[in-house]
């Protein structure tokens, strides 16, 4: 859990953000340059209405409400051809008492040094190179929420550390790896590492054909040739603290190894993604083993998504299915079905999104929720 800044700081930051966002007319990203140093200022505002269809007997309906998902200010810069930097802040989450791991108050605070003909070195806070679904920006998806498996409750999506990146073969081969504090989004709020002081190692390799494949799920360009990308990623940590609001899996007191595989393809507006993860945890707390004669448990699952972009109507149609298990020592699986529509009024800059999510099956002891269906409808406006 990220601690709230002081009320005064929050007020100042919120006022500053609001003023900056108001100063930027829609479709007017601001770029300043002196010939060597270029600074981009952009933003994102997303508001939605959420309606849950609760299980019988439920009396708390607090999630039926409007929500401000994003009030982001994004500063991106480039100094010559060597340095790039990015600072992305979400004022909606600074104001919230329950920050969302999918959308924390600071999304990016990092810079990159590009070593010619070698590697790009990124230092600071940002996304770690694990899980393709995690690496696809929210703004390029018709969904309001990522699949539960990849939205930050089971493994961390961001952390503080150093990342090395290299693209080869006309960017068809993409390699990334890094070392991080290992406390995921919590690395910022704690300041210190845990008592063991170990780092987390994360790596990812992706190969695509016949051309580079960007981190996008929807084929809005209706590419004229079939394209595919396959990725492999893995991470390892030995920590002394267990975190995670929902599942106690984001960090684990013990050793944790995770590996994942993903594939994505697109052609003429039709696109599909599949992603699977397997996590092996060796906890120091025997209660996590549920009195079973073993030293470890496994978690993981898969997500499949199918999309079509109706170009003349500017409409995205998508369906998603996921199956995940939070602990193989406990009976049951979680299965969820989602569908989404995205109407692009002005490219990705202005999109009306609608997402329906249905719980097909739950892991009663670990993954139970108090609702069966959820509908979220909203509008995203990128100020760029």
């Amino acid at each position: 859990m990220l601690p709230l800044p002081t009320a005064r700081l929050t007020a100042h930051l919120t006022t500053l953000g609001a003023l900056l966002l108001l100063a930027l007319p829609a479709s007017a990203q601001l770029s300043l340059t002196n010939g060597q140093h270029t600074l981009d200022i952009s933003g994102l505002v997303t508001t939605f209405y959420n309606q849950r269809f609760y299980k019988p007997g439920e009396t708390d309906f607090k999630k039926n409400r409007f929500g401000l998902r994003d009030a982001q200010l994004n500063l991106e810069g480039r100094i010559g051809s060597r340095y790039e930097y990015r600072l992305q802040v979400d004022f909606a989450d600074i104001a919230s008492t329950t920050p969302d791991p999918e959308n924390p108050p600071i999304l990016d605070a990092n810079f990159t040094y590009k070593v010619p003909h070698a590697v790009d070195i990124t230092v600071g806070f940002g996304k770690v190179p694990y899980s393709r679904s995690s690496l696809v920006p929210f703004t390029y998806s018709p969904y309001f929420q990522r699949a539960e498996l990849v939205r930050g409750g089971i493994f961390g999506r961001r952390d503080l550390g150093v990342t090395l990146h290299r693209s080869l073969w006309q960017q068809r081969l993409d390699l990334s790896g890094g070392l991080y504090t290992g406390l995921a989004e919590g690395s910022l709020s704690t300041g210190d590492n845990d008592a063991r002081g170990n780092l987390e190692a994360v790596g990812r390799a992706q190969v695509s054909w016949p051309a580079r494949y960007r981190f996008r799920d929807i084929d809005v360009d209706h590419v004229p040739i079939p394209m595919i990308a396959i990725g492999l990623n893995a991470r390892y940590a030995d920590k002394a603290v267990t975190t995670g609001d929902d599942y106690q899996l984001v960090t684990l007191d013990g050793r944790r190894t995770a590996a994942g595989f993903d594939v994505t393809a697109q052609y003429q507006g039709l696109s599909a993604q599949f992603e699977a993860h397997r996590l092996r945890a060796t906890p120091r707390d025997p209660n996590r083993l549920f009195a079973q004669p073993t030293t470890y448990f496994q978690a993981g699952g898969f997500v499949g998504q199918l999309n079509y972009y109706v170009k003349p109507a500017h409409l995205i149609i998508s369906a998603r299915y996921e199956d995940f298990n939070l602990n193989d020592l406990v009976a049951g699986h979680n299965r969820r079905l989602s569908a989404a529509l995205g109407y692009r009024l002005n490219g990705w800059n202005s999109v009306i999104k609608a997402q329906w999510m249905h719980v097909l099956q739950e892991e009663p002891a670990l993954g139970a929720v108090n609702w069966n269906d959820q509908v979220r409808v909203g509008w995203q406006l990128m100020l760029q």
Partner: protein
């Protein structure tokens, strides 16, 4: 008054609109294996080589088969070269650095040494600046285009001062411009379309579809063959001359 008619020409649909743009079919392609993210090309005056710029702020000269003949000395201040053309005299190359909004001169008679740079201000995002550039000898102006959000046509005089600007409603984006056979030719990346424009009014007078992934640059050979540069595939596609030529 002239601007009024120009604006009218831009906003009107094609003067002789085809029912559906004709799909062109490439006869062959060649790879650009040593060029990272090629983004635009211009044919050398002798018709035997291309000058090609890269998203990584690099300038190359290649033969017609895509083999690199030479490269301009890398400039640490360069960011993202997106457009290239010859200047109004035909003696110097002009390259648009989209990130820094600088039009940079290079001398092809030397080792592609960098010359003076001229600022062409544009307030959009870093990668939403000027994406296309050519000299229009009919109006004696440089014609530039921003890529999208919004796509606009911009004229510069011979001293690179902005003189006129229009909205571009015919395609969602613009990726390249060139002048050939008494017409302007405009390439749209996302729509994968080639448009022919009247060089006096910029009205659309022809339209073709291209089966090329991420087309970012175009040129014509002296015999009329159309050459389209694919950024993502780093290839040059050769097409027969469009039927109007």
């Amino acid at each position: 008054m002239l601007s009024f008619f120009l604006a009218l020409g831009l906003l009107l649909p094609t003067s002789a609109p085809p029912a559906k743009p004709t799909l062109l079919t490439a006869t062959r392609w060649v790879g650009l294996h040593r060029l990272p993210e090629p983004s635009d090309a211009v044919l050398a005056p002798d018709g035997r080589s291309f000058y090609i710029v890269s998203d990584e702020g690099l300038l190359f000269q290649t033969d017609l088969e895509g083999h690199v003949l030479r490269q301009a000395p890398p400039d640490p201040a360069a960011t993202d070269f997106e457009a290239i053309t010859f200047d109004s005299t035909g003696h110097h190359l002009l390259v648009m650095d989209e990130g820094t909004r600088r039009l940079i001169s290079f001398d092809p008679a030397t080792d592609l040494q960098r010359g003076p740079a001229h600022e062409v201000p544009w307030g959009g995002g870093r990668n939403k600046g000027i994406e296309a550039l050519t000299w229009n000898p009919v109006r004696h102006r440089y014609l530039c285009a921003t890529e999208r959000d919004p796509a606009r046509l911009i004229e510069l005089d011979a001293d690179f001062r902005k003189t006129t600007e229009w909205p571009w409603p015919h395609t969602s984006d613009v990726s390249a411009l060139t002048f050939h056979h008494d017409a302007l030719w405009l390439l749209a990346d996302e729509a994968r379309e080639l448009l022919r424009l009247d060089p006096r009014t910029y009205a659309v007078t022809g339209r073709w579809r291209l089966p090329v992934l991420n087309p970012e640059g175009l040129a014509f050979l002296p015999d009329g063959q159309l050459v389209i540069l694919s950024d993502d595939l780093a290839r040059l596609y050769y097409f027969p001359a469009p039927s109007v030529l």
